[in-house]
């Protein structure tokens, strides 16, 4: 009975309109962001279906001496490398590594950074001071150097690469999270939550973080781009994803030897990195405008 009554009531209620929906409306009008989004969807889609299109052992890492160093043609639209592997195939497959490293590294940085930053912002005092000074130290070391140090200490593997890039990009998240928490903490609804007897940890989780989420999304999107660059840099230096795997950075590194005569070997992986990072940045900027209520016209 009661249930029925409530359900009929519910059907008469207003349609929910979330902030995400409004942000999407805002985002749709930003051409750059939409271009970024479309490119990104293509890249992610390609990375996802790559194993269905190509066989890893034969197409991606298998040598084919007769097809060595072929300039781009209809058959190999990006040409082939010094071992006769199709560069386009390797770039498509390589997206899996670059995106995975970028996303996982940022995820690590995000979780650690938000936990530390939110706690620092909410608790304040000595704890905040210590966390923020450690952040200062971390950000004063160039991130590539830091990642090199981490990889050298932990050993060479894809997982360690993710960890290294993740640690190197934690500091900005701590900062963003702390700043966001400081702003939200002063709002009266947080005080209201305390007035109804909610414990601190729940206030952070239920009221503070959801209200900082847009800034964190923006930061994360932009950071994936720089994480991809860091990962490529490490691979270029031979510290990243191990050899036969088609990581864009290591493709650049091997192509470097032939740059005078076979420039396409470095050109295409380079373009791949550039387009991916550019589309992430375009999207990130667009998101910032769409999610920031202050910029709304």
């Amino acid at each position: 009975m009661k249930q029925e009554k409530l359900e009929t009531r519910a059907s008469r209620l207003y349609k929910k309109r979330s902030t995400m929906e409004m942000a999407w409306r805002q985002l749709r009008r930003n051409k750059g962001a939409i271009i970024g989004l479309v490119l990104l969807v293509i890249i992610i889609g390609a990375a996802l279906i790559a194993p269905l299109l190509f066989d890893y052992s034969t197409d991606v890492i298998g040598m084919n001496v007769r097809q060595r160093m072929k300039w781009p043609s209809l058959e190999h639209i990006c040409g082939t490398d010094e071992l006769g592997r199709d560069i386009f195939t390797r770039i498509v497959y390589g997206a899996r590594y670059s995106l995975a490293v970028g996303v996982v590294a940022v995820a690590i940085a995000l979780v650690v950074g938000i936990a530390l930053g939110a706690a620092a912002g909410y608790i304040g005092g000595l704890f905040e001071n210590v966390v923020m000074r450690i952040c200062d130290i971390f950000s004063s070391i160039p991130s590539v150097l830091m990642a090199i140090a981490v990889v050298s200490a932990l050993g060479k593997s894809t997982l360690n690469l993710m960890l290294a890039v993740g640690i190197a990009s934690t500091a900005p998240f701590v900062r963003v999270a702390r700043a966001a928490v400081l702003v939200v903490r002063g709002e009266e609804y947080v005080e209201a939550a305390r007035a109804i007897g909610q414990p601190d940890w729940k206030i952070i989780l239920v009221h503070i973080l959801p209200n900082c989420i847009s800034q964190i999304i923006v930061q994360a999107t932009l950071r994936v781009g720089s994480a991809i660059i860091s990962a490529a840099q490490l691979s270029f230096l031979g510290l990243g994803v191990p050899a036969p795997a088609p990581e864009w950075g290591s493709m650049l590194a091997s192509g470097r030897l032939y740059i005078r005569d076979y420039s396409y070997m470095t050109l295409f992986p380079g373009i791949a990195i550039m387009i991916t990072v550019l589309s992430l940045n375009l999207l990130g900027d667009g998101l910032r405008d769409a999610l920031d209520p202050k910029l709304k016209r």
Binding site: L6, R9, L13, E188, A192, A193, I196, G197, Q198, K202
Partner: protein, 324 residues
């Protein structure tokens, strides 16, 4: 003996600043009878909001006793205090920042009920939310809207419903209508008044608007720089203000009436800093009646000049023969 729900004794709240201790609330004493309203009036920075928050321990008081129904709140642990929160609630000034923008109306109103496990069944809880919405005059079609989709008056109603959700005995109203338009302001004031009668609530009504406080309160306490300078039943305070600051404040209200000639009680410029204030009357520097010998001798104390009428002005106390 009167049924006192709240007694505040020597309440102090100091804030540390780079230039010394800021005495935001400095030795406040009052008692509040059940089902009555105490108006706390004063200008910005007089410590009225801080007092309200310190009573609820949303700000930890520096010292003093807050005796609520016989228990000293200041002695309770954090967990014990959380349980006490059921009985004492707050309504905020700004209906735009006091509601979490990411939560729907029903989530906001249901939160205190859920948090304190008053009703655990989800459907019953929703029923209660609808009941509360009806109590505060919110149409039920708004149950799933977000605060930003509503206007100030409706948002303030949500804030009131949230405060009522746990059936509190005491509600601190911190400027609940000053952000609203006059026509809406009257709606909310009437609502608060009706609720008081219906639910037997006790209010501490904090405001800078004297005409509102006069309409709303049984007793009025006028605050100046962290101290109560005069406290009296509303009618008495308006008919017979004694402290020079109260007189100035009352004479400054613009009256929407033809041919009203205001007899302004003038004030001088300089305002005493609340940071490490000197041991003297804090109003002395702005007061035209000030007699340095008397006013700067010590910190004035509240004295009863007529039944229930307290004044902290050494000059007037002397005139009345209360002070030697």
């Amino acid at each position: 003996m009167a049924d006192n729900i709240l007694e505040v004794r020597h309440l102090k709240k100091y804030f540390k600043t780079s230039r010394g201790m800021l005495h935001a609330v400095d030795d406040i004493n009052f008692t509040l009878e059940r089902k009555k309203t105490l108006g706390l009036v004063g200008e910005s920075g007089c410590g009225k909001s801080t007092t309200g928050r310190a009573i609820l321990r949303l700000l930890e008081p520096t010292s003093g006793e807050i005796i609520f129904e016989g228990k000293d709140l200041n002695k309770l642990s954090k967990t014990q205090m959380r349980h006490m929160r059921k009985d004492m609630q707050i309504i905020f000034q700004d209906p735009f920042s006091s509601l979490d923008p990411k939560k729907t109306v029903s989530q906001i109103i249901a939160e205190p009920i859920k948090e304190n496990k008053i009703i655990t069944d989800k459907l019953l809880r929703e029923e209660r939310v609808l009941e509360l919405m009806e109590t505060v005059g919110l149409a039920e079609r708004y149950i799933n809207t977000y605060p930003h989709e509503l206007d100030g008056g409706r948002r303030q109603r949500i804030g009131i419903a949230r405060a009522l959700a746990m059936e509190p005995k005491l509600i601190v109203c911190d400027e609940p209508v000053s952000a609203l338009d006059v026509s809406i302001q009257a709606q909310i004031l009437n609502l608060l008044k009706d609720l008081q009668e219906k639910l037997g609530l006790t209010y501490i009504f904090i405001t800078h608007d004297l005409s509102v406080v006069n309409h709303f309160s049984d007793d009025i306490a006028v605050m100046y720089l962290g101290q109560i300078v005069e406290k009296a039943p509303a009618e008495e305070l308006f008919d017979n203000p004694i402290h020079p600051y109260t007189q100035a404040l009352l004479s400054a209200i613009p009256i929407p009436e033809l041919g009203h000639q205001r007899q302004r009680v003038a004030l001088r410029g300089e305002i005493t800093s609340p940071i490490e204030p000197p041991e003297e009357c804090r109003f002395a520097k702005r007061c035209l009646m000030c007699n340095p010998e008397i006013c700067k001798a010590s910190v004035p104390v509240l004295m009863e000049v007529s039944p229930s009428h307290f004044v902290a002005c050494p000059l007037k106390q002397k005139e009345m023969g209360l002070l030697k």
